[in-house]
């Protein structure tokens, strides 16, 4: 019998019995079933589920092989299957999470380690050169100066609070590099968010605006971030995202300071800000420490301006109230996108 013949795919949301078998196999390997996984490749031998690997968009997670079947290259078959499944779904640039002690196994799958949170997790990608090439493209954008700042914005959508943060940071630096989160997982699309940031930061001359990348707050580097709109918070992987920034992105651009707005409302963002200080400033790393500067949010009538508040008012179609929170460019966009409905 063909050894690969007993592999098949499972959509855990539509197959409760399969899902339960997967959950048991993962539990036997000290792993939890990740609800973000859209599809699993699984292998059954004589009816028993013996191997699984999950795919969350372009990230492989929840990989397990039954203890008694290890050492017979079942894992390599599993690796081939999941890589081909991803390809069939249009995903070629893949990331993978694993515990540090399994790193050699996944090297055999053609994955290379990017960053490790000691004793917890390693993020790997299936290219030995992709991150380095991305950093090369950043290096070409280096600017001279002693204080070089970096900001990562989701801007969902761009508010006067974002404008204030960028102005304050740009005023404090010789040059400011601004990244927009690329993932299309927020209420507003990446294309719209980027266009509003570009329009909103006009007039600030010492900054470069970058499209986002898979290496900066993406589903791969920080899966938990995109659950916050749904009110779900998983164990935070912020460390992986921040170490990537510190070890690769900041050195490529010579970034010395990372600026961030204080976060009065959102739990995920607030915890991200706290972890920023840990991983960019204090944690042991071969890369230089980056100073984290938390800038108090701009507020209106004592209430901090936030994109969350803009979305809340948008739900009520209260454009007059939104006008106080966003620049004219964002307001025009919102009025165009959400024309008043005839009741």
């Amino acid at each position: 019998m063909n050894a690969t013949a007993d592999f098949y795919t499972v959509h855990p949301k539509d197959a409760p019995a399969e899902r339960e078998d997967i959950r048991r196999l993962l539990a036997a390997n000290d792993l939890e079933l990740d609800d973000q996984i859209e599809v699993f490749v699984v292998c059954r031998r004589e009816g028993r589920l013996v191997a699984c690997a999950g795919l969350d968009h372009y990230t492989i997670k929840c990989v397990a092989v039954a203890q008694d079947l290890r050492g017979e290259s079942l894992s390599l078959d599993l690796g081939s299957e999941v890589v081909h499944l991803a390809a069939a779904r249009g995903q070629f640039h893949l990331f993978l999470y694993t515990a540090p002690h399994n790193l050699p196994l996944f090297r055999g799958w053609g994955f290379y380690p990017l960053v490790e949170v000691p004793e917890r997790v390693v993020l790997m990608e299936n290219s030995p050169v992709a991150l380095e090439r991305y950093c090369d493209s950043l290096r070409a954008q280096r600017r001279p100066g002693k204080t070089i700042g970096g900001i990562v914005l989701n801007a969902n959508p761009f508010t006067l609070g974002h404008r204030y943060l960028v102005e304050q940071a740009a005023g404090a630096c010789d040059w400011l590099h601004v990244f927009v989160v690329k993932e299309d997982a927020s209420m507003f699309s990446y294309a719209d968010r980027f266009a509003l940031v570009a329009a909103g930061v006009k007039g600030i001359d010492n900054l470069t605006l970058y499209p986002g990348s898979d290496y900066i707050i993406s589903r791969a580097t920080f899966p938990g971030y995109f659950l916050k709109e749904k009110g779900l918070i998983e164990a935070s992987w912020a460390a992986v995202d921040l170490l990537l920034f510190r070890d690769y992105i900041a050195p490529a651009l010579g970034i010395t300071h990372r600026y961030v707005g204080s976060e009065p409302f959102d739990v995920v963002t607030r915890s991200y800000n706290a972890q920023m200080k840990q991983w960019l400033e204090r944690a042991a790393s071969t890369a230089a420490a980056i100073t984290v500067v938390e800038i108090p949010r701009a507020s209106l009538g004592g209430v901090p301006i936030s994109a969350t508040e803009v979305r809340r008012r948008l739900a009520q179609h209260d454009f007059r109230a939104i006008g106080d929170l966003v620049p004219a460019t964002t307001l025009e966009f919102l009025e165009r996108r959400f024309p008043a409905t005839v009741q």
């Binding site: 081939s80 799958w109 299936n126 050169v129």
Partner: protein, 98 residues
């Protein structure tokens, strides 16, 4: 032939290889080879890969090879398959595949 999209061919099983081909925004042809037998056969593997790409006139693209000790004929076949998929080649020029 022009690489216009990403494609893969092959597996990670022993005596096989996985070939990943992608368009390169730099316009150059970058070949990265990783092999379990790189010390003994690295030069030969690179020669086969380069030769296969030359015959197909692939001048640009990123080619990543994860080799598990495949024979030359297998390497050639997998590289060809990945390139033909990445170039969306419908009309095959069989003499180039020999």
């Amino acid at each position: 032939m022009k690489v216009i999209k990403e494609a893969i061919a092959g597996t990670l099983e022993s005596s096989d290889l996985l070939v990943k081909v992608a368009p390169s925004d730099r316009g150059t042809r970058d070949v990265v080879i990783r092999s379990e037998v790189i010390k003994q056969f690295g030069k030969q593997i690179r020669r086969v890969v380069t030769d296969t790409l030359d015959k197909l006139s692939v001048s640009g693209g990123s080619i990543v090879v994860e080799d598990k000790g495949a024979l030359d004929c297998v390497i050639r076949a997998r590289v060809q398959a990945a390139v033909l998929r990445a170039c969306e080649a419908n009309q095959l020029e069989w003499e180039r595949l020999s």
